[in-house]
Each structure stands twice: as structure tokens, then as C-alpha cells.
Amino acid sequence: MAKGTISFDWVTILIYLLLISFGWMNIYSASLGDSPSGIFDFDEIYGKQALWMILGLFMIIIILSIEAKFYMKFSSVFYIISLLSILGLFVFGKTINGATSWYGFGGVSIQPAEFAKVATTLALANYLGDIQTNIKLFSHQLKAFFIIVLPALIILPQPDAGSAMVYAAFLFPLYREGLSGIYLFLGFAGIAIFILTLVLGPLYVAIAVIIISLLSLLQKKKRRPSPLVLMGIIVGAIALSYSVDYIFQNVFEQRHRDRFNIVLGKETDAKGIGYNTNQSEIAIGSGGWIGKGWTEGTQTKGKFVPEQDTDYIFSTVGEEWGFLGTSVVVLLFIFLLLRLLFLAERQKSTFNRVYGYSLVGIIFVHFLVNIGMVTGIFPTVGIPLPFFSYGGSGLWGFTILLFIFVKLDSERLAF
């Protein structure tokens, strides 16, 4: 096939357009004041978002008209610029809602962390796509981790734990490219021990770990783990459990403890720390089958749900569009993720595949944590819903991230 054939994946583009349009309708409803003005009133949140969306469309055209190779070649440059921009926040940053994550330019604020994800994705794809990189080698693993963790560590103390957490998404491309499954296993086991410790206390976790380990000795000799490994696992797990307990009780601040306790069902305080989640559940729950209709949500109008145009935008969908609306949004995300995964798998180059997997991982983690939080399954972690939440930086960050991949995919046969 000829070089430079243009065949964009229109399925992805269509889902993207559906999500941002429906997202804007919900932002409009959630931010509607007492006196509605034109949809391009830039004093209003929905007006600003409309502007970001239209500018975003121009940006897409630019992204799609640049040759795919450009992104690969300049990935390191982007990465370094990104790191500098998030480091610069410590000096020049503007604080909004307690987090110093923005640069202010006149009336416009930019959140560089949203763009750092794109740069990190490009950098990781570039590294893993290098013919000399072998992810099975420990030194190479370490280097890959370094690329991922560096921006996360800079973002974390801003403080923006939510954005930092998203970098866990890069485990998916690493695993796909051959990282040992033991990393994923240890990750999940660590999370399981973490939660069980908070719910049951370290003593019970220790007992459970010992019993399970002893049960593994009943297996056939061949499959039986060596006593040394077993001992290591037991000691490690128990040590983790006790340190989690210690960290939770002594290192965490009360507000962090509260957030976990709410989700774990240990405390229910509808007026206090659980207020956000509680109001969000009420708004979603009151939607019923088909919702109360666009701009008719009583909870939305009363502004009962905090941050409803940003992190809690999904509760507006729930209240005004009901189960019909929420399931359509969930299914759109699932289709988008599966489509992108399918596209990633059909890439010929490692660079493209790693990029695709990173893209899917990042959108998925946002989707998982955001909707999990809004529906009360996960603790409250401030993280937006891609394409939906209000915010120019977020919208542009995801748009760039997605459309670079659309461009890569369209030229996949050119490499």
C-alpha cells in the first residue's frame, strides 16, 4: 500500500464527537445560572467549554496533518518540556482548590499535568519502540519505570494524587510488551492486602496469609513453591500489612483516612466528608429509568453535588438522563476502549502499539476511578472524566493524546 494513505478510524472519531457533545450538554446543565445567556457567553463555564471544543477541532486538523514520524522524533523534547513545565509550577504555579497545578495567563489557566501524560506516553513508546530495548532486562525495566515515575513524583506533592495515580496506567503497555506478570500480581496483591488491612486489621491478614501459604504446601511436589520463596512471601505480606496499618494511622492525615473509611463503609457521615459521594449518589439515584430531562435535574439545579461540572459531571448524566443516559455513556466508553485496543493490536510497530496501549490505559484509569468515585465504589480522588468534565487543559490533553494515535493508526503501514 502506498505511503501516506489517509484512512482515519472514523469509528473512534465518531465516538469522540458523541462524547464531547453529550459532555458539553451536561456541563451546560450543571453550570446553568439563574439567567441563561447565549451558549457562547465566555463568562459562563459552558461558553468557555464550547470555545475549547471548537479550538480543539482546529487542533485535531493540525495533529492529523503532521506526519506521524514527527511525534516519534520529538518525543524526548516533548518529555523534557513537560517535566520542566510541571517543575515550574513550584515557582510560578497558581493555586486552585488547594492544588498548585495551574499556570495563570490572564483569565485562562493551564494545567500542564494534562499534557505531561501525552509527553510521557510518547517518551515511553519511543523507549520501548527502540530496537535495543529489551523489557525483560531488569536495567531496562528500571529505565522504563524511571520515565513513568518521574513526572508522577513531581506531580504528587503539588498535591495532585489523582493525576499522579494515572501513571499506574503505564503498567498495561509494559505488561503487553513482556514485563513479567509478577509485577501485576504483586501490585494487585499489595492493593488487596492494603484494603483488607484497613477493613480487618493486620492480625487477621497475617493469619490469612499464613493459612493460604500453608495450603499451597498441599499441592503436588512439582508445583509446590520452594520454602524459601514461601517464607519470603509470608514475611513480605505481613510486613506490608503492618506497615500499611502504621502508615494509615500515623502518616496519613485524617482527611485521607476519612475518604477510605467512607468507601470501606466504616463511617457514614452524610453531612461531613461523605457529603460529595452521598449527594452524587442521591442525584444519580433520583434519575430512575429515563431521568428528569435535560436541565431539569433538581439536584443539579440546587448545586447539591460539589464540583458537578468537573469531576462529578457524571452525576448530572445520572439525574437528568437516568439509567438510559448513564448506560449509554458507560457503553460508549467501553466501545471506545475496546476499539482503541483493537487498533493498538493491529499496529505493526512497537512504538504505535505501546502508544495505543498507554492511551487505552490512561483513558481506562480515568474512567474507572472517576465513575467509581461518583457512584460511590471508590474513594474520593479528584480526577476528571475524559471528554466529559469541564476543563480546557483536560479536554485538549485527551484530544491530543487520542488524535496522535488516530494519526499513527492511519499511517501504520507506512513504517
Partner: protein
């Protein structure tokens, strides 16, 4: 596996989210209700309750404003409790108790702290209110009674109880509802429809405007003003005459079926069941189980009708063709109907036919007439059932269907009843076993309103309108077919002529000749009914009930009346006098026989009512 893992995780997440959303939005309804609670405030706008006028347009019941002191506990700030308590006549302990109670109910919602201030208390407090943050005054509308009478007719207003709230979605806690009488019967007419406003609130509980631009809001509809058929003047006069007596009076306009007065004695001032003392007064009236002031004797008391019932036996006999007006029967101080069994009678000329029979209220005459009715048929069962059917056509032995919420069916015995008590067919029974029916004793029971309706039916010569209390709504006469359709009895109208003549003679020469009203021709019938009570399980006879029915003027009846006076002895003694005075009052507006009026007003039966309670032996009919 490396390729599939992310697919699996994504799809699993999708299912978990859809499941969670299904649970939140469809399965668990508590969230939907919670939403209505916290985002929408419902405010009700109560309309004025309709006024009640009497048949002549005299205002009986209107409204007056009442002021409740309300508090929203969360907004209450420290204040000068001493002064506040002095104004409201509370002790500081009472106040703090009320505030604690309000806080437990809800810190955010208003609670009543002191209900129903008087106008002067309100005027004084109003100026000081700004000194008490968190407190405010709420205006409500209460009934204002322009009459001291007719509490049984008017009914009263009370707060709805939980049972009403559960059964009728219109009412919410704290709403007022009409109970008993006209207020209860025509609640929906009088109350109007309350308006409702849905107000969208924000998370600080502030109003931010009408919900959905007010498309669900409704305006209140004012309650309708009504005229009732009661003549306020006659009602007041009747209640005055019945002071210190017990019993019931019902007066009906025969041509329309309108109830002119409905009196029960003892009675009470309707204003007692209103305002701050309502509940205390109600309890007092409710627990007076001896005089039973809340018991409407005009509608609920079932008495044996006594001699007035003879008129109807005469009508049935004529209709059945078993006697002629001129058939004579002899009376030798009574009627002997079996070995040693005699229905006694008083001294009068004998033998006599129908007109003097009614005028002299001869028991022997009516025993003969009754036997002929029953014995016309091959079996006494058929006879009694035919007799009962005629009585049913007068509205006796069944609910009359008038528009007041209290009533009794009375009792007209049938063959089924006698078969049961005489254990037929094991034992046979004959007309003589039911002979007391001839003179309105025995098994027959009637309420005063049934007796009054019977009288009106005789006055109309064979038809009646169902008695009713509502005359017009906002000036429009009622058109309900229940009250504007004539009911015809099974008696042909020609048979009424001799009976009415007999009743006329009651006044001219008979048992009520002392009760004539100068210038008014009356037809009436005295009655004296034996009655019994149980004292320590022993059936004990009490002084007879005094009963009277009458209508006047004879040739153009304007009023038909039935009077029962418990233990008033013979018919002419209390009931006859009261009926006569009320007829004169209604037709002439003034009383010419002051001595008769004075006699009734100054005579009390309280001593009579104490007899069975005294625990000592007593004599009756003195």
C-alpha cells in the same frame, strides 16, 4: 493472555458499572425519595374556609385569624428568655422543653412553639419579634362562631390524625379537617382546595426560584359559602326550651324536606371546640358518659315512638282495606287479647271510630285495627311483612339518607325477627304476640328525625323529600337528585284525609286540647313511651318518655316537628308544650302564651335523670 488481560478488565469494569448504576437508579428507591426531600420545598397556600349561613342568610360561622409562634431551632440565637416567657405566659422550663422537642423533630424545619395567640397577644408580640431570631409568627385561619347554638349541626374543625393522612393524600400533618355535622359532611365544599408551590432549593437550603417555572404549582381555590336549611332563630329557641332536659327535636319543612332545626339536649357552645382550649374541652365533653353532650339525640337516639305511631297504623289499615273510617270498636279501659292479658287504656267515650280513636289515642281501637292488618293474611308472617313494607316506604327501619354524617336505622320488626325470637316453627306465634306494635311500643324503634320525616309525610299526604341540611351553595339552590326527588309511600293520598282530621282533633278536643295556638290550626299526636334501664343488672322501669309530633298549619303545612323528651312523662307534658311553642315561634315569630313558655323554661328534669344513678329506690311517673 498478555493480549486478553486488558480486554477482560475493561469489559468487567463495564459490567460492574452498569450493575452499580442499575442498583442506584432502578433498584434502590430511597435515593429517589431523598432527592425530592432535599431539593424541592413544598409550600402550601391555604384558602379561606367557606362561611356557613342559615336559611335566612344569617351568618352562623365565619373565620378569624389566629397566630402561632413558630421557631426554627437552628436559627434560634440566645435571647431574653425572661421577657419572651412573660409575653407568652410560659415558664422558662416549659419554653426550653418546647424548644428541645422542636429540635428533635427537626433543627431545620419550623415547629409550633405556642399555638393560637389572641389578637392582643399577637399585637404586643409582633413589635418585639425582631429581638428573637429564629422565631416568627404564622397566621392561620380559625372558625369564628356567630352563634352559641347548633354545635351538633355545625360540627367542628380539628387537626387531621394519622389515619386520615394515610387514607387521604390531600391532607398532610397539621392540616385542619371538618368533623361531624355540616363541617364534616361538606368538608370538601367548605375547605376549598389548597394551593401548592414547589420551590427549588440549593444546598444551603435557600430558595432559588420556582421548580420548573412553576408548572406544577396550583392556586388555592376558596372554600364555598353555604346556606344551611336550619332556621337559626328556631334552633336557638328550641335549644333554650330544652335546657335542663334531655332529648331530641327535629323540625322539617314538609314541602322541601329541609331540616329547620335539629336539636339535641344537652348541648354545648360550638366555640368550645376551637382555639387553645379545644382539646381540653373536647376531652371533657367526650368523657361525660351520662349526659353525653356529643351524642346527637336528634339523629342517633332510637326511641320507641309510642302513640304517634298509631297514625301510621291507621293509614296502613285504610290502604289494606281492613277498616273503614266509620268502623267502631269498643274500649273498656283497654283491650283484652288473651287469658288475663290486657292492653290498658284511659277513660274516654266508647265505642269510637277512627277520628276520635286518634284524637283520644285509644289503645283498644288500634289493637283491633292492627290485628285486622296482620290477620288479613293467611299467616301472621305475611301480615307482619306487609305491614313492615308499608312502614319502610316512610323511611322507617332503614337509614333515611340525609346529608349528615351520623345516623341510625331505627327498627321495624319483620317476620324473620319474630320467627327467631319465638323459635318458629317449633312454636307458632300470632298477631297478638306483636300487639304492642299497635301502639308504637314493642319492637319498633325510631330516631327523632325519622319521626319528624313521618310527620312531614303525613302533612304532604303521602310523599316526602329526603330530609337534608344543605339549602344552597354560593346562592345556588342544591340540585342533588337525592334531595330533590319525591319519595312516595305505599299509602294512597286519600287515606291521609281522615288521619289528618284525627290529628287535628287531637288539638281540638283530644289529648292536646290545652296546647292550641290561637290563630293556627295544628295537627298533632301525643305519645308516651314506657322505657327501661338496667340497674345492677335488674330491668327497671323509668318515667315514660314524653313524645309529640305535629305539623301546622293543617291546610298548608310549613313545619313538621317531632319532639322527644326523655323521661318527661306523658306526651302533652313536655314534648307537646315544646312542639306547640316552637310552631308558634316559627310561624308567628312571637310567643303569645308566655305562661306556657315560662313553665317549660323553669321546669327541669335533672332530678328525674338522677334517680337511676342515686342507688336508692325511687318512684316513677310522678
Amino acid at each position: 493472555m498478555r493480549r486478553l488481560l486488558l480486554y477482560i478488565i475493561i469489559i468487567t469494569t463495564g459490567f460492574i458499572f452498569l450493575g452499580r448504576l442499575f442498583y442506584l437508579q432502578i433498584v434502590d428507591e430511597s435515593f429517589a425519595r431523598l432527592s425530592e426531600d432535599n431539593a424541592i420545598k413544598v409550600v402550601y397556600d391555604y384558602p379561606q374556609r367557606g362561611y356557613i349561613f342559615d336559611r335566612n342568610g344569617e351568618l352562623l360561622v365565619s373565620n378569624q385569624p389566629s397566630y402561632d409562634v413558630m421557631a426554627i431551632p437552628r436559627n434560634v440565637k440566645p435571647f431574653d428568655t425572661a421577657e419572651f416567657c412573660t409575653i407568652l405566659k410560659l415558664t422558662p422550663e416549659e419554653l426550653s422543653k418546647k424548644l428541645d422537642k422542636a429540635k428533635i423533630y427537626s433543627p431545620r424545619l419550623p415547629s409550633i412553639i405556642v399555638p393560637q395567640l389572641t389578637k392582643s397577644e399577637y399585637a404586643y408580640l409582633q413589635e418585639k419579634m425582631r429581638k428573637y431570631p429564629g422565631f416568627y409568627i404564622q397566621k392561620r385561619s380559625l372558625r369564628d362562631y356567630q352563634t352559641d347554638n347548633g354545635s351538633n349541626v355545625l360540627g367542628y374543625i380539628a387537626e387531621v390524625n394519622n389515619k386520615i393522612i394515610d387514607n387521604n393524600p390531600y391532607y398532610i400533618s397539621g392540616d385542619l379537617i371538618g368533623k361531624q355535622g355540616v363541617e364534616g359532611q361538606y368538608e370538601e365544599l367548605l375547605r376549598g382546595i389548597k394551593g401548592v408551590k414547589y420551590i427549588q432549593k440549593d444546598r444551603f437550603n435557600r430558595d432559588i426560584g420556582p421548580f420548573k417555572e412553576g408548572i406544577f404549582d396550583t392556586l388555592p381555590k376558596k372554600g364555598k359559602d353555604v346556606n344551611i336549611s336550619i332556621d337559626g332563630m328556631l334552633q336557638a329557641y328550641g335549644e333554650k326550651l330544652m335546657e335542663n332536659k334531655r332529648g331530641g327535636i327535629v323540625a322539617i319543612e314538609p314541602a322541601t324536606g329541609e331540616i329547620l332545626s335539629l336539636i339535641t339536649a344537652p348541648s354545648y357552645d360550638p366555640a368550645l371546640l376551637m382555639g387553645r382550649q379545644r382539646s381540653a374541652n373536647f376531652t371533657k365533653l367526650y368523657y361525660d358518659t351520662i349526659a353525653k353532650p356529643l351524642y346527637d339525640r336528634g339523629l342517633l337516639a332510637e326511641y320507641p315512638p309510642g302513640s304517634p305511631f298509631k297514625t301510621i297504623n291507621a293509614l296502613i289499615a285504610l290502604q289494606e282495606g281492613v277498616v273503614d273510617v266509620h268502623d267502631k270498636f269498643s274500649c273498656n279501659r283497654g283491650y283484652v287479647y288473651g287469658r288475663g292479658r290486657k292492653l290498658g287504656c284511659h277513660a274516654h267515650a266508647s265505642p269510637l271510630d277512627m277520628i276520635p280513636g286518634i284524637a283520644q289515642s285509644c289503645n283498644a281501637y288500634f289493637a283491633n285495627v292492627y290485628r285486622r292488618i296482620i290477620e288479613k293474611y293467611p299467616t301472621p308472617q305475611e301480615g307482619v311483612d306487609t305491614w313492615a313494607k308499608h312502614l319502610n316506604s316512610f323511611g322507617l327501619g332503614q337509614f333515611l339518607g340525609y346529608d349528615l354524617p351520623a345516623g341510625r336505622s331505627g327498627k321495624i320488626p319483620t317476620s324473620e325477627y319474630y320467627n327467631k325470637i319465638y323459635e318458629y316453627p317449633t312454636y307458632k306465634w300470632f298477631a297478638t304476640a306483636t300487639i304492642s306494635n299497635a301502639i308504637g311500643q314493642g319492637e319498633v324503634l325510631m330516631t327523632p328525625i325519622q319521626l319528624a320525616n313521618m310527620t312531614a309525610t303525613i302533612a304532604n299526604k303521602g310523599w316526602f323529600y329526603t330530609p337534608h341540611i344543605l339549602k344552597s351553595i354560593e346562592g345556588e339552590p342544591i340540585s342533588d337528585p337525592d334531595y330533590t326527588k319525591k319519595h312516595f309511600t305505599t299509602i294512597d293520598s286519600e287515606h291521609f284525609i281522615p288521619v289528618i282530621e284525627g290529628m287535628h282533633q287531637v288539638y281540638k278536643v283530644g289529648t292536646a286540647s290545652a296546647l292550641q295556638i290561637p290563630g293556627i290550626e295544628i295537627a298533632g299526636k301525643t305519645g308516651t313511651a314506657e322505657n327501661f334501664t338496667k340497674i345492677n343488672g335488674k330491668r327497671t322501669q323509668l318515667t315514660d318518655h314524653s313524645i309529640f309530633i305535629a305539623f301546622a298549619p293543617v291546610d298548608n303545612p310549613k313545619i313538621a316537628i317531632a319532639v322527644f323528651v326523655e323521661n318527661g312523662y306523658w306526651g302533652g307534658r313536655y314534648a307537646g308544650r315544646i312542639a306547640s311553642l316552637m310552631i308558634e315561634k316559627y310561624l308567628k315569630k312571637t310567643i303569645s302564651r308566655k305562661d306556657m313558655e315560662t313553665w317549660v323554661l323553669t321546669h327541669s328534669l335533672e332530678d328525674e335523670y338522677l334517680k337511676p344513678l342515686s342507688g336508692e329506690p325511687f318512684s316513677i311517673n310522678k
